[in-house]
Symmetry: C2
């Protein structure tokens, strides 16, 4: 009942059932039949399925920690810190093989071993790395053009326009191609038919009065929808809007301070004032960091408080909250420079500064720091284990546990928890925005993004294998809300790029001289509408699933249909034969009498 | 194997199989178990499934009419006129009951008996009538506002803007609500899961070298895709483009002639010149009619020649061809008046003329003429049957046929063939365009459309029951390409209405006086983008399937999952018990020895 699909004898993917195991392909050797991710998932499911009943008023030994029927006990233990953490430990042997193919420098230009990643980490994380790899390759052509533009001195009125139009088409094609590749992957992993929300169990932290699930009839917490809607529109929306306004005013403040600093420097070009020139940027960076941290914790609390029933809807609401804020936070200043100040030189330098700073900080924060911490931690654990007290403690838990395993558990307990793919996607989302929204202003953006991502893949891979605790594997057939988020950016990119080109005085010279300004604007609006129409048409007409996957799926469905037909035919023939036999026996009896 | 889903014992819709019949709900009485439409479908399927083999070089008795293996024989007979026609005859008894509820005047304001229509005519036609009814009801609010505007003399700069914005929102909500109602209907009819294209057999007229179907492995004609693509882009696209240009020039010619006539009338207001004033419109109407007829036959030939494998793709390509041309043919002059001439008064009168003329002509063509013809035909057939020669002819076919049936067959042979829902949808599509694209120019359009549709439902119903031969029922789970076509109009309506309002000098007065013309345009472009964004968001966030249908579907899926689980569990328990029994017997034997 866990929505785990495996290849059946007829080539079809069917939900695996232990009672029907022999009919599944490769089930002779159950150890290799299930992926590591699947084994993990089963164990976690079992642990989390231990729920309180009416007879469990509180956690044994902790009378003040009440339990409600239907609530997962393990989560209660965790939330009250009776149990600090539950996690699977790494499989060092497999990880060594995986790491060798994945993040070692000699493989830097090879494809990632996506299937092995899926085997170990599960679909969700494998999909993130597949997306990251696919996107990085897709950055190559824009980066190439960016470099060509940079090294050649070709000056033309068409320069920006050509690059923009290419980028817009490219972004659309990339997102469509990704959907097809995604369909291929989920076909290979047997997750095509997974519609997780149908019977998805409520999140462990979901609370409400005990009622019954309308679909399954099982008892589970029920929380009225109107309350969630009221909370969302009554509190969340105003609070989020407030923070968006804060981010906007911080940005305005920055530009105001910068203008003051510029003026001061202009009047008196001393060394001191040179420093003053950079002061607003520094203050801005700090305030942005602070605001971002506060907003994150507010968003998290709001999201918890909204009490979403399903993990997927919880995740999506959190993603939307973060995307909205980060979008405003990172891009509002660019919009301001581009369309209010209309200063192309400032736009280019501001864009470059934002993109490069964020990437450098990101690389340090994500790869270097955890690496250094990890080294130190390992040393500390080694020292700790040498002391007798720890070894005694080990024996207290289990006499048979071996020293190596104990060491590993202790080490991994001190490792950081992997927070999920959210931050990684968010980083790519913002980068995608920097590269495509204002591509005509800064063609080199794709080059910087490409450079970042080539190392990002390896450092993320290293992090997954060496820095973080092993995460629990999660099922996913696609990248969820992120697909939509990237598509929204690609639509917005059409509007921004058309506006940027329309504002370019060079391009305006191409038009007949007797054209009125109003008609110039109308021409660009028309061009924008045409590009948008073409974009939607392209996205509509490119099938989301590759032809061969469609054929395979249809073939498999046809086979199972035929099998069903045959089964029914056999059953009815058998029944008829039986009746005939009985009748002929009867006849024989009657004759013999 | 016909993709016919019926309700199974567990409440789930499953493909019906005669071998498993007893497990389907209501199958005790097979006569009422299948709808009339389904029975018909089975018979047609059997007739069309008679295909030529290698041993049938030609039609028996007609050596010059060759047969190719895999080709449907009945279609060959029909295409060579050996068999004039194949059609199901009407069931007068059912039809009388259906008609009483459907098109009689006393029921004019009642809901149509959609389920009975589906029972008799099948899903596709029932969906058309459901859509027509739903759309007609949706016209009520805009029509009410139109009337209020007409009778009150409220003059305000907001007048048109309010109506337009209401209409835009209303059109979006209507299309979303229709999708939900559609989902409800197809849930009720068990067509939710029908994905017809998966195993859909090729069209009877599809030709190619004999190969194998990649999915089913059955022999069938194979036609290389590149040839179809080459034909489509190489010939179809240029030819269609040519006709679009022709329609455009005919329109220009009309306005040129009209200007000439206006001038002549202005100079000399004689009775003769009064006639000249209407001459261009008359000529235009005639030429448009001629061009339309030629284009239709060209489009049909091109569509045949493209050699589409599936009926659905054949239909969709034909729909697109007709929509494109009719769109240009009917709307280009309105766009010309609205945005090139920018003459709002002319736009209003032109729109009113087009809409009302088309509706009156449509009503006459669709309802009156066939009705008169039908009466005459009935008389002729009666007279014909009185003659002995005909009666002899009857006995030649079948001695047992009764006179009434023979009379019915003869009568229905002379009836017109129902050409499918295409023209009916096309009419609604154009009407939808007239009402919503320029709603701010002519608020009364909705009133005219509503009046037309109230009679249209009844006259279409009458036509279906009394004028046309009974059509073969077709399976459909939605209205196919038409949904997209209506949605495209509703998107276009945002653009046209924003432009119309933006051009309104009254509305411009609302803006600050010191605003530049360029900024005025930009403001309207911004408003347009916001409305479009809201529209897409609304369409995205309203679920296409009503909650209760989702729950029902999930419940049914859950039940069948549980049943499968139980089945497997039982099977494995039985096996284990058997093994245990055998083992204990063995033990007993060994003990007894």
């Amino acid at each position: 009942m866990m929505d785990m699909e495996k290849k059946y004898g007829d080539g079809n993917y069917r939900e695996f059932s232990i009672h029907d195991a022999p009919n599944f392909l490769g089930s002779e050797d159950l150890d290799s039949f299930l992926t590591m991710a699947e084994k993990q998932k089963i164990i976690l499911h079992e642990i989390e399925a231990v729920r309180a009943t009416e007879e469990d008023p509180h956690i044994p030994g902790y009378e003040n920690i009440k339990l409600y029927p239907g609530k997962s006990i393990i989560k209660k233990y965790q939330s009250r810190n009776i149990l600090t953490t539950v996690f699977p430990i790494h499989d060092d042997e497999y990880l060594k093989k995986l790491g060798a193919e994945w993040y070692q420098m000699k493989h830097a230009f090879k494809q990632q071993p996506i299937d092995r990643i899926q085997y170990y980490f599960g679909d969700k994380i494998a999909l993130y790395f597949a997306f990251l790899g696919f996107y990085t390759i897709a950055l190559l052509p824009p980066a190439m053009i960016g470099i060509i533009y940079f090294v050649t001195s070709w000056e033309s009125m068409y320069r920006e326009a050509i690059f923009s139009v290419f980028n817009l088409i490219w972004a659309t094609l990339f997102l469509e191609a990704w959907k097809r590749y995604n369909a291929e992957l989920s076909f290979r992993w047997g997750t095509t038919d997974i519609v997780s929300s149908k019977f998805e169990e409520p999140r462990a932290n979901f609370y409400g009065t005990i009622g019954r699930n309308v679909v399954t009839g099982k008892p589970e917490p029920v929380y009225p929808k109107w309350k969630r809607v009221a909370r969302f529109y009554g509190v969340t929306v105003p609070v989020v809007a407030f923070w968006l306004v804060v981010a906007f005013y911080v940005m305005l403040g920055y530009f105001y301070l910068q203008a003051l600093a510029d003026k001061k420097y202009e009047n008196d070009k001393s060394w001191f004032n040179m420093g003053v020139l950079y002061l607003p940027t520094a203050i801005y960076a700090i305030i942005i960091g602070v605001v971002n941290t506060i907003y994150r914790s507010v968003a998290k609390k709001l999201n918890d408080w909204e009490n979403h029933r399903l993990q997927s809807s919880y995740d999506n609401h959190f993603i939307i909250k973060l995307i909205l804020f980060d979008f405003v936070n990172c891009f509002i200043s660019l919009f301001y420079v581009a369309f209010y100040l209309q200063d192309m030189t400032l736009l280019r330098s501001h864009l470059a500064a934002l993109l490069i700073t964020q990437q450098v900080i990101g690389q340090i924060k994500e790869a270097m720091v955890p690496f250094i911490f990890m080294r130190r931690r390992k040393r500390q654990v080694d020292e700790l284990l040498k002391k007798t007290s720890t070894v005694e403690k080990v024996e207290y838990y289990n006499n048979e546990v071996d020293d190596g395993l104990q060491k590993q558990v202790n080490l991994e307990t001190t490792m950081d928890d992997y927070e999920g793919t959210l931050d990684d996607y968010l980083e790519m989302f913002l980068q995608f925005g920097y590269v495509f929204l204002f591509s005509s202003a800064f063609p080199l953006a794709a080059v910087w993004a490409l450079l970042n991502n080539v190392t990002e893949i390896r450092s993320d891979a290293f992090k997954m294998c060496k820095v973080f605790r092993r995460p629990f594997a999660e099922t996913a057939s696609n990248i969820g809300a992120w697909q939509l988020a990237f598509e929204l950016i690609s639509v917005m990119a059409v509007i921004t790029n058309c506006a940027l080109i329309g504002m370019n005085p060079e391009v305006k010279k191409l038009l007949p001289t007797d054209i009125t300004p109003v008609n110039t604007v109308l021409i660009f609006v028309l061009v924008e509408h045409i590009i948008l129409a073409v974009k939607f048409a392209v996205a509509y007409f490119i099938p989301d699933t590759p032809k061969w996957v469609q054929v395979e799926l249809a073939r498999v469905a046809f086979k199972s249909k035929q099998a069903l037909h045959k089964e029914r035919l056999d059953a009815s023939t058998a029944k008829r034969l039986k009746v005939q036999q009985m009748m002929s026996k009867d006849m024989a009896k009657q004759t013999s009498f």
